[in-house]
């Protein structure tokens, strides 16, 4: 009897620990929602979501979030232009061409690339990539979207590559052998058989990569500048949603003020964007699993 009760207590305690993760999600949503609600009582939703000026720290504050969203999307788009083709090509090479020995060496090195702290990438973007790019584009400012975008792409590349490779390696061998038997080359097999068969897994990897780029903070906080600007020009300083949160956190804006609440409102928007992307990615991967299991 005594043992049985103890067993029951232990099981309950373990359950509480597991449920802590649900509490974390609830906590995130609650904290963001409460402060965003307070913020939206003073700033109309329409002004927040469609305004084209973001100057919350000025004497006449304007709370249009679009410049921050545009900055985030521009840097993320540049990162994707680097990470998607390079990640996919690396994955094709590793999955379809590379001998085992090469794969055993290259994969851990790519993991190192994924494990480098983001503040280090920020330093790399500001001190190495920007000066290099300025030689090619002399009109480029010291802070810009291009350099952090490229570096972010390099940072995300291992994620795209390893998830895409997993998806491609899950494609049954028989499909490849069928293609070879019909006289297809490795390239034809890779591009016309393996990639289409692994398409939903690869798409899931791409979407997860976009989500990672949107939420990435330190690279842009260091190398993109702190000027909210509605622009598609990759050579001028701008500010992303994440960099704005960092900027306010570093300053001495008093807690409880409207300016202070902006970081939670921006955070809420960021959370909803990444959460939506993650859900789509998970859904795609689940669907993908059904096909070959």
């Amino acid at each position: 009897m005594h043992t049985r009760r103890l067993e029951w207590i232990i099981e309950r305690a373990l359950f509480v620990c597991a449920a802590l993760s649900v509490l974390t999600t609830a906590g995130i949503i609650l904290v963001l929602a409460v402060e965003t609600f307070e913020f939206l009582r003073e700033v109309p939703v329409a002004e927040f979501l469609t305004g084209t000026e973001w100057t919350p720290l000025f004497a006449t504050p304007r709370f249009g979030v679009l410049p921050l969203v545009a900055g985030t999307l521009l840097v993320s788009a540049i990162a994707m232009v680097v990470a998607l083709p390079m990640g996919l090509l690396s994955a094709i090479y590793l999955s379809e061409y590379a001998p085992d020995g090469v794969r055993r060496i290259v994969k851990p090195v790519l993991e190192v690339l994924a494990g480098v702290p983001t503040v280090v990438y920020g330093y790399f973007a500001l001190m190495f990539v920007t000066p290099l790019l300025q030689r090619v584009f002399p009109q480029m400012s010291g802070f810009n979207a291009l350099s952090p975008g490229i570096v972010m792409g390099i940072m995300i590349l291992p994620l795209v590559s390893s998830l895409s490779e997993d998806a491609m390696r899950a494609v049954p061998r028989g499909l490849r052998e069928g293609a070879y038997a019909l006289g297809a080359t490795r390239m034809q097999t890779a591009l016309q058989i393996v990639v289409p068969a692994a398409f939903s897994g690869i798409t899931a990897a791409f979407i997860l990569a976009v989500s990672r780029a949107v939420g990435e903070t330190m690279i842009v906080a260091i190398a993109a500048g702190q000027q909210p600007r509605l622009t598609a020009n990759p050579f001028v300083p701008l500010e992303t949603m994440t960099a704005y949160i960092v900027q306010v956190s570093l300053g001495d804006t008093p807690q409880g003020t409207l300016e202070y609440r902006t970081i939670f409102a921006v955070g809420m928007l960021l959370f909803l964007m990444t959460f939506g992307l993650n859900l789509v990615s998970t859904w795609l991967r689940e669907r993908f699993r059904e096909v070959y299991s």
Binding site: L89, L113, P117, R186, S249
Partner: protein
């Protein structure tokens, strides 16, 4: 013709891969050449200073170690307990499935959002202030999904026959887990923990968001002390216009990378050692 296309494609694919590796090489070269000249005993043992040549990394290194040890102390029991529940008890129940989906989603939430959570809950509601403890709690929540996932993997490697043997000898479920399953899974669990901590130690954004200070000329002396960490100190130095501070930043990065390397070596060593014990 089509074989030439194939050869060309292969070269392009290999070229992209090499380009990615070259980027890593450039990164390492840039940091080593930028910081190695600044790395000396004075740099390791000095505190923050307004003069770049007097500034050091000691306070930030101490802060990072304080935060990461506390983070591990919080994340290990919570993560292992959650993983044991999901793997050994939860089964296929609806609630367990819900928790699983939730953990997978949490793993993909941007780290800066965890910073806002920590600011709202630990710093303000729970009144921890901008302390080492608040930072560790925030990073522990951030590390938990990875600790849980790697612990579950480790638990899954323990063969079912071990559990059945234990039950046959009259052990209860918890006795089986505590005396048989967990010791066998320990190397995997510890490796996963250290790897997740090595990610947490490089985190900057969530700690800036909870209000860890960027300028602090002393090392923390307890869980309630204000603090800074290596990545925040590096960020602070990078953000200053003077070249001398940039050099400090590169040297700081070298210290951070050395710490990361050390943690990874410990993980490899632990796995190796426990595996050998398990065999004898």
């Amino acid at each position: 013709m089509k074989h030439r296309a194939d050869a060309l494609f292969r070269t392009v694919a290999l070229g992209t891969l090499l380009l990615a590796l070259a980027a890593l090489g450039a990164l390492v070269y840039d940091i080593v050449s930028g910081g190695i000249g600044r790395l000396n005993w004075q740099f390791l043992t000095s505190m923050a200073s307004r003069r770049p040549e007097d500034a050091g990394i000691y306070h930030a290194l101490a802060g990072s170690i304080w935060v990461i040890v506390l983070t591990g102390a919080l994340a290990l029991p919570l993560g292992v307990a959650a993983a044991v529940y999901l793997e050994e008890y939860g089964g296929r129940s609806r609630v367990a499935r819900l928790i699983e989906i939730n953990i997978a989603n949490l793993a993909a939430v941007p780290s800066i959002i965890y910073g806002l959570l920590g600011l709202g809950v630990f710093v303000r509601v729970m009144g921890m202030g901008r302390s080492v403890l608040a930072g560790a709690c925030t990073l522990a929540l951030l590390a938990l999904p990875v600790v849980i996932l790697s612990t579950r993997e480790a638990l899954r490697t323990v063969p079912g026959s071990i559990r059945e043997g234990s039950y046959a000898l009259g052990a209860t479920k918890w006795q089986t887990i505590w005396y048989q399953v967990l010791p066998m899974a320990l190397p995997g669990i510890l490796t996963g923990l250290i790897l997740s901590l090595s990610r947490a130690i490089g985190e900057t954004a969530p700690l800036i968001t909870i209000g860890a200070l960027t300028y602090i000329p002393f090392a923390p002396d307890g869980p309630w002390s204000p603090f800074t960490v290596l990545p925040i100190q590096i960020f602070n130095w990078v953000s200053r216009p003077q070249a001398a501070f940039k050099e400090n930043a590169a040297a700081g990065i070298l210290v951070l990378m050395a710490l990361l390397l050390l943690m990874n070596l410990i993980a490899v060593f632990l796995r190796d050692r426990f595996q050998r014990q398990g065999r004898t």
